[in-house]
């Protein structure tokens, strides 16, 4: 069944992003909406945002962990564009006022060194195309009330991406086994959670391969310089003004987010 008016739904999300006021999930009104409907809205929403002068600098992959997939009731990840206007550098202050209901997730990002175009991309091919990996924290946010999302909702909402803080230290894959890279997340100096790279689909490099193959179905390639956010290594943690989050990755180093009002 074709989606009812993806442009109108994209406009609703666009307005929610601008006003920072959550809206009711699309699946409340129409529970039959699925993944394809979500991507149709995502495409329209992305078009609107790019028309304002933003640009796509990479992609995030979400729903990469078994618990998240179970929660949403899917058996594959989803993706959305990462916008240039949403990237913070290590240690920068991040204002709560920019978001609706933000949470923080430590993850490994891959930076592409050469073009990677699916279909047919293997993990080996993906590894060859990656210039290196960096420490990162994604700020996820939902434009839907109380994070009450189903698959079509989160896909439409740019895979619930809000922003990201990224370390400038780029480590080549020859120096690190990304599957086994350990991570500790602290809030105001207290340990909140730990994880390792394998939490993302068993291997963050496999996430990049999945993304290249999935984008390839739509004729899109990963380009040199693109970031790929490969998925959270732990359960997302709500942010509050005054929090200082620090994710330290073995051999990739730390990345810090200072949350302000």
């Amino acid at each position: 069944m074709p989606i009812t008016d993806p442009v109108a739904k994209a406009k609703e999300l666009y307005r929610a992003r601008q006003d920072r006021v959550a809206i009711a999930p699309f699946t409340d009104e129409d529970p039959t909406l699925g993944m394809a409907d979500g991507y149709a809205v995502q495409a329209e929403l992305t078009r609107m945002i790019l028309a304002d002068g933003d640009r796509i600098i990479g992609y995030k992959v979400g729903l990469t962990s078994k618990p998240m997939q179970k929660l949403i009731g899917v058996d594959s990840p989803d993706y959305g564009p990462v916008l240039g206007s949403t990237i913070y550098s290590d240690g920068q202050s991040v204002s709560m006022s920019r978001f609706i209901q933000p949470k923080i997730e430590a993850e490994v990002i891959a930076v592409m060194g050469s073009e990677l175009r699916g279909p047919g991309v293997t993990v080996t091919g993906a590894a060859r195309a990656i210039a290196g990996v960096s420490a990162s924290m994604e700020i996820v946010d939902s434009r839907f009330a109380d994070w009450r999302i189903k698959l079509a909702d989160t896909v439409a909402d740019l895979a619930s991406n809000g922003a990201a803080a990224v370390s400038s230290r780029l480590v080549p894959l020859s120096e690190v086994d990304v599957r086994l890279v350990g991570m500790t997340l602290t809030r105001n100096g207290e340990l909140v959670d730990t994880g390792a790279g394998a939490a993302a689909l068993g291997d963050p490099i496999a996430v990049v391969a999945w993304l290249a193959n999935t984008l390839g179905e739509h004729g899109i390639a990963l380009e040199p310089g693109h970031l790929v956010m490969t998925g959270a290594l732990h359960a997302a943690v709500p942010m509050r003004a005054g929090d200082v989050f620090r994710a330290e990755f073995d051999r990739l180093g730390p990345v810090t987010v200072r949350v302000v009002a």
């Binding site: 078994k66 086994d177 599957r179 086994l180 890279v181 350990g182 991570m183 500790t184 340990l191 959670d193 730990t194 994880g195 390792a196 790279g197 394998a198 939490a199 068993g202 290594l233 330290e248 990755f249 073995d250």
Partner: protein, 253 residues
Amino acid sequence: MVETQLLADRLAQARDSVTAIPQLSDDTPGLDLETGYAVQRLSRKGRGQVIGWKLGVTSRAKQQQVGVGSPIYGYLTTAHVLDYGEPLVTAEHINPRCEPEIAFVMGADLSGEHVTATEVLAATAGVAPGIEVLDSRFTDYRFTMPDVVADNASAGRYVIGTPVSPAGLDLRLVGVVLEQNGDVIATASGAASLGHPAAAVAWLVRSLASSGEGLRRGDVILSGGLTAATPVSAGDSIVVSIDRIGSVELAVR
């Protein structure tokens, strides 16, 4: 007055007959932590030589799972060892669950009330990837802290891989991956055990000091589960991989 020997006998009976019992605290008013450790000490008799120790309730995941906030310890004897490659036989256990651990192999004796993580690392000959098999003698792992202490911190069996030198390793940051039948079940870093596995061992040494005991050269210390424990049944395979330390595999029959 709590009849500690009777409680130790009850637990031994449960273990030997592979039959779960209700928690001791149900019909033992006055069972506190100290009494729990007294029962645990009595239960060492006839179990062979103590060759090491295990920590329990050291990870956030574990503390949430059992709803408490401080670690506990138990002893390890030759009866707990699974040799490398030896399968876990579920028929010998009540309700086995596996968790990943960093194992310390001591290179020197270490005891004292004020021992720190730094001293622990200095006295460590090697660290190894470990799989601890928990097995509570209580029905469905339902117990209070004094109960689980009396039950030797749910110690079941353990297997460790080849020890490597801890020099140059930041045990706080090493990544840990638990796989069951090829699926990634959970991940963590070493910090999941009390912020640093060596800090967990230091806690153990300080705790042992109160009963005049300590670690001996060659002792194996399981420094605390780093993820929630996963239930296992016959046919399962468990793999624990720890960055730069190695991996260890366990077949379940």
